[in-house]
């Protein structure tokens, strides 16, 4: 849980308060806090003068606008065909072992969430993952461990 504070006000001052501003505002909150709380969505609804159901309805449509708690670093492993053919399974096992969580879970220190995702556009450099916005490609077990360790020390 986090406090939205002035973030919704700041974002709506920047993007505007019409309906078309909804996505950039929700994206801005996720960028900062990694997921949307009920409080945050109600606050957005109030600011844009639309119903909270509209805000939730929109947010829940989009995979990257999470409405359940997520860690500071959201790892999305591409599971579509090329990555699946080129060792996605091993990448997931490696991540599960090092983070000691399963797909869909968040580490107890709230640092990492491990998810699968559909094609992220790196088929020629499979297997690939996203950590928040950053893509990592042509992964091997060693490379994955190195990358995760660098995030652990951030």
């Amino acid at each position: 849980m986090y406090q939205v504070g002035n973030l919704v006000k700041e974002l709506s001052a920047r993007h505007g308060r019409d309906r078309a501003s909804l996505m950039p505002i929700l994206q801005g909150i996720v960028e900062k806090h990694n997921y949307l709380t009920d409080e945050a969505m109600v606050e957005v609804a109030r600011e844009l003068d639309i119903s909270a159901a509209e805000v939730y309805g929109t947010a829940s449509f989009y995979t990257f606008l999470d409405t359940v708690p997520r860690g500071k670093y959201v790892i999305r492993v591409c599971k579509t065909i090329s990555c699946s053919m080129k060792g996605k399974g091993e990448i997931i096992s490696t991540l599960e072992n090092i983070l000691k969580i399963r797909i869909g879970q968040t580490t107890s220190d709230k640092q990492f969430t491990l998810l699968e995702t559909n094609c992220i556009g790196w088929c020629h450099k499979a297997p690939a993952i996203l950590i928040n916005d950053m893509p990592y490609t042509e992964l091997t077990e060693e490379k994955v461990i190195e990358i995760i360790k660098s995030y652990m020390h951030k």
Partner: protein, 386 residues
């Protein structure tokens, strides 16, 4: 018929002086620009292949003075990564294509809808955009370009779903008509073009329709950027002439053991080895937005089909029943056949269901699930059953 063979080209990524092209088009009458694009025979590079010149012409004919150019950079088709590469290497051509299209149709505003998975590129693209805006202001163009981000929804690559998303709503496709050229984003006349289409428009304006026409075949003019992945020793981005056969393609990119090529991604067609020689890559054969995936004989086509169906089950927006329920039933159906819980003849019923989805689904997603389904089930039936 002209046989183009496997010709590696370098028009699309070639470094050019964008100012020169834009200065030239600035002086041209709008109908001249549209005529040049019409004459070039350029068809949309996102996959659907609608003639770009027609799209511009229809939008230009609208009386509403408030029009939009939208660049569709919501590249989500499995196996496609060319738009990312284009935005990375020649963003000024994408911006330039929008400016030219804007002038041709009489639009002052452009929006680039970039998929959330490419969010990491945004700072660099904005920096590049600043430089670009200086150039067009000096020439005299009045045009704005803004970025809008997606948030992980394949369906938003469908034009009307993309408009809904820009408008801050769920990305659910609209009924058509009205088409975007009449009522697009914010209900205004809109020309929505794929990243590569806009880049190609710059190429046409630079070398002229006549020169562009020398490339490709009658039905598939020009060159095309291909995203090549799967079982190939040389995966990556290649610019090739349209009109080659799958056999020629496999000779150039296969690993010597290619048993199937999926042309056009999960929503495209699976071409088996026995049909390589007779199948042309282009609008007269199998069309593609550029996604080419090679599978060698170590791959189970059941796993490939299962992976695609999984994808569609998750990415169907759920708005219309044929697509929402159809995707789920196709997946359950092939699982049952594989486990022996249903007879192999059940596959025929599933193909009928896929055909029904083609006519009954509201948008291109549900309409094209049957492409991969039918072509994999028909050509690799024994792999699905046993």
């Amino acid at each position: 018929m002209k046989n183009v063979g496997l010709n590696k080209l370098d028009y699309i990524f070639e470094k050019i002086n964008i100012r020169e092209v834009l200065e030239k088009t600035y002086k041209l009458p709008n109908d001249k620009i549209i005529k040049e694009i019409l004459d070039s025979g350029l068809k949309g590079r996102g996959g659907a292949g609608f003639p770009t010149g027609m799209k511009w012409k229809f939008t230009a004919e609208q009386k509403d003075p408030d029009k939009y150019i939208v660049c569709n950079a919501d590249e989500g088709e499995p196996g496609t990564f060319k738009d990312r590469e284009l935005l990375d290497r020649v963003p000024y051509k994408v911006y330039g294509g929008m400016v030219v299209a804007g002038k041709a149709i009489g639009a002052k505003n452009g929006i680039i809808y970039l998929r959330g998975e490419y969010r990491y590129m945004l700072p660099g693209l904005l920096k590049e955009l600043d430089e670009f805006m200086k150039i067009i202001r000096e020439i005299g163009y009045e045009f704005t370009i803004e970025f809008r981000m997606g948030s992980g929804a394949y369906i938003c690559g469908e034009e009307s779903a993309l408009f809904e998303s820009i408008e801050g709503k769920r990305g659910e496709p609209r009924n058509k008509p009205p088409y975007p050229t009449v009522s697009g984003v914010y209900g205004k006349p809109t020309s929505i073009n794929n990243v590569e289409t806009l880049v190609t428009a710059i190429l046409v304006m630079r070398i002229g329709a006549a020169a562009y026409n020398q490339l490709g075949t009658k039905d598939s003019r020009g060159s095309k950027v291909f995203s090549i992945s799967g079982d190939t020793p040389i995966p990556g981005i290649y610019e090739l002439e349209l009109g080659m056969t799958v056999q020629e393609f496999v000779n150039g990119f296969g690993d010597g053991d290619t048993k199937a090529v999926q042309v056009g991604g999960a929503s495209g067609f699976c071409v088996p080895r026995k049909k390589f020689a007779e199948t042309i890559i282009g609008f007269e054969g199998v069309p593609t937005g550029g996604s080419m995936k090679l599978f060698n004989s170590s791959r189970s086509m059941y796993n490939v089909l299962h992976n695609y169906l999984d994808f569609f089950v998750e990415e169907s927006c759920g708005q219309c029943t044929p697509c929402r329920v159809g995707c789920q039933q196709l997946l359950k159906g092939v699982q049952k056949v594989k486990k022996g819980e249903a007879k192999s003849a059940y596959l025929n019923d599933l193909v009928k269901l896929a055909d029904t989805m083609k006519v009954a689904s509201k948008c291109g997603l549900g309409q094209s699930v049957g492409n991969a389904f039918r072509s994999i089930v028909e050509n690799f039936r024994e792999e699905i059953i046993y």
